[in-house]
């Protein structure tokens, strides 16, 4: 019997479950390595060379270099791990979260100040807004 995954129809949301974790293991562990200052410096000096030290897929490496967090997540990345890339780049969590929404940094910040993204129309994939 397969596992029940009731969370696959939540729009714009990827749940980091065992399957995603397996796909993203090396990507996330690479992110974890950026907690050390010397690794951050080496990564910044030559991103490609640093990434090639990890058994990540080519797609994962390209997504990291493009700072495409949505793509990273689709390839098994988890936001708390990916945040280490943002920290290396000097980005705040709000800048990182906003970068995944297609909104400008200012528009995202303003949306949050006005009470955030409404859940109405955002509960189920394909739901009318």
């Amino acid at each position: 019997m397969s596992l029940d995954k009731p969370y696959t129809d939540v729009p714009g949301t990827t749940i980091f479950d065992a399957e995603m974790s397996r796909q993203g293991y090396h990507l996330n562990q690479f992110c974890m390595s950026l907690m050390k200052a010397e690794n951050r410096a080496r990564f910044k000096a030559n991103e490609r060379a640093y990434l090639d030290e990890w058994p990540m897929t080519e797609e994962q490496k390209l997504a990291v270099m493009a700072r495409d967090l949505n793509r990273c997540i689709a390839l098994g990345g988890n936001i708390y791990f990916l945040a280490k890339i943002g920290a290396t780049d000097g980005k705040s969590f709000q800048q990182m979260a906003g970068s995944m929404t297609g909104m400008s940094e200012e528009d995202y910040r303003n949306m949050m100040v006005k009470g955030g993204r409404s859940v109405e129309g955002n509960r189920f994939t394909g739901e009318k807004k």
């Binding site: 949301t13 996330n28 929404t101 949050m112 859940v119």
Partner: protein, 285 residues
Amino acid sequence: MARISASVYTSHVPAVGAALDLGKTAEPYWQPVFQGYDFSKKWLKEQKPDVIFLVYNDHANAFSLDLIPTFAIGTAAEFAVADEGWGPRPVPKVIGHPQLAGHIAQSVIQDDFDLTIVNKMDVDHGLTVPLSVMCGQPQAWPCPVIPFAVNVVQYPAPSGRRCYMLGKAIRKAIESYDEPLNVQIWGTGGMSHQLQGPRAGLINREFDTDFLDRLIADPEGLSKMPHIDYVREAGSEGIELVMWLIARGAMNDVNGGGNKPKVLHRFYHVPASNTAVGHLILENN
């Protein structure tokens, strides 16, 4: 004997810690957030707890994907403040209470909750931000803290029900400890927020308000809420709220004694960065 006098619930948004560390608390954006804790800081000073049992989650700092414990109890004498990638927060190290922590581990495991025992662990903003909002910027934290980390990073987190029942087992353990300690239990994380994907920025004030109401009045019923409701209604990271049920499960009224707890303080504010900030203090009655 040791006893639990009160439970505290609060969000642990990293930007709140950063605002405090960078001296931004008086800025119009942050002022309403910190004002929500004015009462709490004063109250905590008067209460002088002997130990805080602090339920939080690690955010890929102490635990990578190499090791993902569902429930981990910190039994060390002290815990260093983690460097999460921005450098460690300039806050005091955390002093533990190895004797009580070891006692709790032994009791709770025999009550069928298989805790992971951790003797070396750095603590991240999940633990230090609640201390900061409740204590301000002291040279040392006011008392020993037992860190209790819950996995909410890799799905599935433990169910709300499991957390609630675990709270009861922790209470039983604390109340069987010989020394007459005044213990507080804190549940942290939440409230509604989503940090990932095109739906990032989700906030659900109605859900949060209802959660606070039910946590006070009907924790038993609330504990039965399935994960998917948290994810759909409160955002993928809103699932942190299951940790509040651990603290609530340790209160007198749900353990065969005492009235409903007294609601000493209740606060809610949107936003702090990406997140709705919620805060409650419940005192045993």
